[in-house]
């Protein structure tokens, strides 16, 4: 009969009246973010950074500013540059994650938040001091070694620089960065709370931070 499909449509909307809304009331409720979420507030480990500026070179927008000077540390302590400036201009950042992808020493991570909105453009950059002081909740984006531990930046504790590297993890012997995880590290069920600092007691005994 003509008009039947309209009645059917009315029934569909009526059915939805009884359903629970699918929307989320934002400030009170939140969607659960995946640990891979590419958020703001970059996480940066100064101890791991050599000042190579790969991130700055690889940034499609060129918004990372790095100024370094030669450090006085001896070669055997790990040769690196002393970082004077490490500014990320947030207002132009599009969170593509290419800087994280480019970082060869796992010093730079995407953050986990997304609420860095400001009222003026002046405050829209992250300075080296902010990077140093901020709580380190690194996203597992492009960091399979973190992901395999089951680390969740939204729930778990901040991580120390020794815990985030790929040294303790033997995947890179088999496959290269960005490829499928061949095997995870030998951490019991991978709870991040139980994450052992790398180097102190490497679970597979094959390497450490200093290797």
């Amino acid at each position: 009969m003509y008009g039947l499909a309209m009645v059917k449509g009315l029934m569909v909307t009526l059915k939805n009246l009884t359903r629970k809304p699918f929307t989320v009331q934002y400030p009170e409720e939140r969607l659960t973010q995946h640990p891979r979420f590419r958020g703001e507030e970059f996480v940066w480990y100064e101890e791991r950074c050599t000042g190579c500026a790969s991130c700055a070179k690889y940034c499609p927008l060129g918004i990372i500013k790095i100024v370094t000077s030669p450090s006085e540390t001896a070669i055997d302590q790990g040769d690196k540059y002393r970082l004077e400036v490490f500014d990320i201009e947030l207002q132009r950042c599009m969170f593509c994650g290419l800087c994280v992808e480019a970082c060869p020493y796992d010093a730079l991570f995407m953050g986990s938040g997304f609420e860095q909105g400001k009222y003026s453009r002046k405050g829209m950059f992250i300075s080296i001091d902010q990077l140093r002081q901020s709580e380190k909740h690194p996203s597992t984006f492009f960091r399979p070694q973190l992901e395999s531990t089951g680390y969740n930046p939204h729930k778990n504790r901040p991580l120390d620089w020794k815990e985030v590297g790929r040294e303790s993890w033997n995947w890179h012997r088999q496959e290269k960065m960005g490829m499928r995880l061949a095997s995870g590290p030998d951490l019991d069920n991978g709870s991040a709370e139980e994450l052992e600092p790398a180097g102190t007691s490497s679970s597979d005994g094959s390497n450490g931070a200093s290797s």
Binding site: Y2, G3, A5, M6, K8, G9, M11, V12, T13, K15, N16, F22, L31, Q33, H34, P35, R36, F37, R38, Y58, P60, M94, F95, C96, G97, L98, E101, A102, M110, S139, F141, F142, P144, E147, E175, K176, G178, M179, R180, L181
Partner: protein, 368 residues
Amino acid sequence: MPIRTEPMTVNVGPQHPSTHGVFRLRITFDGEEILEVEPVFGYLHRGTEKLAEERNYVQVVTLTDRLDYVSSMINNQAYCLAVEQLLEVEPPDRGKYLRTIAAELQRIAAHLMGIGFFLQDLGTLGTPLMYCFRTREKILDLFEMLCGARITVSYLRPGGVFADAPEDFWPALDRFLTDLPGELSELEQLILENEIVMVRTRGVSTLPLDMAINSSVSGPVLRASGLAWDWRKAEPYDAYDRVEFDVPVAQNGDNYDRFWVRMQELHQSARIVRQCVEQIEPGPVRLDLPLVLRPEPGREAYGRVEASKGELAFYLFSDGGISPYRCKIRSPSLINLTVTEHLLVGWKLADMIVTLGSVDINMGEVDR
């Protein structure tokens, strides 16, 4: 006594709720009937092609996200295919499957947007749109799992995808694929055979097949006019040659057919994803390519995919440098608009809005 009338010129857009972005049409009306149409483009022109010449091959991926911003994955795919043609490499199998899954999920999301806004243009109070968004939201969640972003994904890389899907992606995808048929059938019950939709869209703004072909129209618009042409079938890329799917075709080329074809393609995309999930096997997902790519000088590539709006292609020319010498984007949205005048003239204001919705343009891609 004859009543004197005079035509009236109205600017529809760039600020109009139903021009799908900042599209502007300068329309001359006789009463409500359209006498003349002049599309005006360029309000969202960002010079993507020029920007691509300043960035290295991988960085350009982030630019492609912003072309048709409701189908970023497919844009990524087209670009990565072009770069792979330049380099003469092929991604590993698992990478191909992941790309296919991502692209088909994105197609579902983009078609849902297209359908939702088409129905919104028809005058529904956003109900089908909300139902579409409900489903699309789940796809965006899946994308967040894959790559950490929801819209501007930048997931694909020349030579594969940047990372394998996390462990929790597969159960989530499974859940999504289980729920999808129910949600789609609800949408179909709500609107697909609704008499008002039929009356409003059937026979309106028909596009004959010969004109569609001659005007380089592609994608669902072309298939609604009666040509079963799909680049995924004709020139299979990634894993499309290993999956089975049908190409929905309609005959009349009217607004309803365009809408109908999109509705059917949703099911086909889900079917492709299901097959990919079955077939995918462990392995590497990305080729071991350097971060900065340098194709041989003088090479050119035309990487083409069947995007949600039609044939999306990147024509790349390499001079041996680290960035493309020329990166031309063949955007389906723009070229589908070639037939604007034919589709709109003679119809009413209300039909014009619906027709624009049924052609499903995206200004990010039209203006680039």
